[in-house]
């Protein structure tokens, strides 16, 4: 910002507006295509196409986030130390996403087991409530 003239930096701002608006419209277009609103409906068997749509949406959103942080919030002209201390901690979220989505998937797979546990009366102890972890009845009774 420091070296640019006033007129130049104004021009940059409106370029940014057009860029963000166009990226948003592309995102909406991709999303509607993935949901089958633009004539062609991808069938549920075409998992790769739906995955491609989702990845495209995520990449475009990350680009928008980068643009807002670096251009509008001027992160690009801050010193390296500030950039790193703000942006690096966000990498922790990568692990949070992996771990929690794995957990969600596991809940999904164990739905039937949980339902079965909920409906079990206290007397039929023979139902293997823990899945396969505990096998002996004595251990289970604690």
């Amino acid at each position: 910002m420091g070296h640019k003239s006033y007129e130049e930096s104004i021009k940059d701002v409106y370029k940014g507006l057009v860029l963000l608006a166009v990226v948003t419209l592309i995102e909406v277009g991709i999303s509607l295509f993935g949901k089958g609103h633009l004539g062609y409906k991808p069938s549920p068997e075409m998992g790769w196409l739906l995955a491609l749509v989702a990845i495209g949406l995520i990449v475009l959103s990350l680009y928008k986030a980068y643009f807002i942080i670096y251009e509008f919030m001027h992160m690009g002209s801050e010193v390296r130390g500030l950039r790193l201390t703000v942006l690096m901690p966000c990498l922790l979220l990568v692990w949070a996403i992996i771990a929690f989505f794995q957990e969600g998937n596991s809940w999904f797979e164990r739905r039937d087991l949980i339902k079965q546990k909920n409906e079990r009366s206290i007397k039929d102890k023979k139902v293997d409530v823990q899945g396969s972890l505990l096998e002996k009845e004595e251990t289970y009774q604690m």
Binding site: Y14, L32, K35, P44, F72, T85, V86, F101
Partner: protein, 282 residues
């Protein structure tokens, strides 16, 4: 003589060049306020990330999930079946108000009081516009479609079949549907009326409610974001009045307060990028 000059030079050296721990230096070349605004935004980003990751986790854990392009397909002025259109307008409002905020900060660097007030005023209008749209969206979901924190009338079929009765809105008796199609259970006279249908295998069933968590997540996450927008508008109004009164003309750091509230406002736009992605696009 010679020793005297050496001592003097030494003294000179001592007073002017302080060590890193003696104060007087700004770490990272920014003021305390701006640095702390960045760290506050970082912590806020983690709060939002926690919410959105919870949404993803629960969505992964459910067999069905309401399809966003079906849930969010209504707009004011009686527009129906227009998926994502209204929420795209809302996104544009936030983007535009972010741009007017950048202009305000630029005018602040030039010490142009009128410019700062003018662009901040436009930013406030954008923020209020966004909040109004959100109020309409919430009102529509709560009062017309009867979704609450604990009741989610948006369901999704897991098998294909044919309806045995109609709901007087979009569905007529005899309409066929496929697995993955979404529906809304309508409420008449204070009661929900799930429709009966026949699956392709010939079983008679009726519509079931969608995953409960959807309503709670929607209202908490968009509500939390909306609350950020609301407090942002309040901060903007305060700083705009301050700027108009000429307080910042006298300050040594000039219009830095405008920059700081600007950082907050861009962050609100930044969060919306991800709320928009997670709730509406995916």
């Amino acid at each position: 003589m010679a020793t005297e000059t050496v001592v003097k030079e030494h003294d000179h050296h001592d007073t002017n060049e302080k060590g890193a721990w003696d104060g007087g230096k700004t770490p990272f070349g920014v003021s305390y306020g701006k640095l702390m605004m960045w760290y506050f935004l970082l912590s806020d980003a983690f709060t939002f990330a926690g919410f959105l990751i919870a949404y993803g986790t629960l969505r992964f854990s459910s067999a069905t999930w309401p399809v966003p392009d079906f849930v969010f397909s209504t707009a004011p002025f009686g527009i129906h079946h227009a998926p994502l259109i209204f929420v795209t307008v809302m996104s544009f409002l936030l983007i535009i108000s972010s741009v007017t905020m950048v202009r305000g900060v630029q005018e602040g660097h030039r010490e142009n009081k009128r410019g700062v007030v003018f662009w901040m005023f436009l930013t406030i209008i954008g923020g209020i516009g966004f909040l109004s749209c959100q109020a309409w969206e919430w009102n529509n979901l709560i009062n017309k479609e009867h979704m609450t924190v604990t009741v989610n009338p948006f369901g999704t079929h897991i098998e294909s079949g044919t309806y045995l009765e109609g709901d007087g809105h979009d569905i007529k008796a005899g309409d066929a549907f496929k697995a993955g199609d979404s529906y809304l259970i309508h409420k008449h006279g204070g009661e929900f009326h799930p429709l009966k249908y026949k699956t392709d295998e010939g079983l008679e069933k009726q519509q079931e409610f969608g995953p409960k968590a959807f309503g709670a997540l929607f209202f908490f996450i968009t509500g939390f974001h909306g609350f950020h927008v609301l407090s942002g508008v309040v901060f903007l109004i305060i700083i705009m009045i301050n700027a108009a009164s000429g307080i910042y003309v006298k300050r040594q750091n000039g219009y830095e307060m405008v920059e700081k509230v600007g950082l907050y406002w861009h962050f609100v736009d930044l969060v919306w990028v991800f709320v928009f992605l997670v709730f509406y696009l995916l």
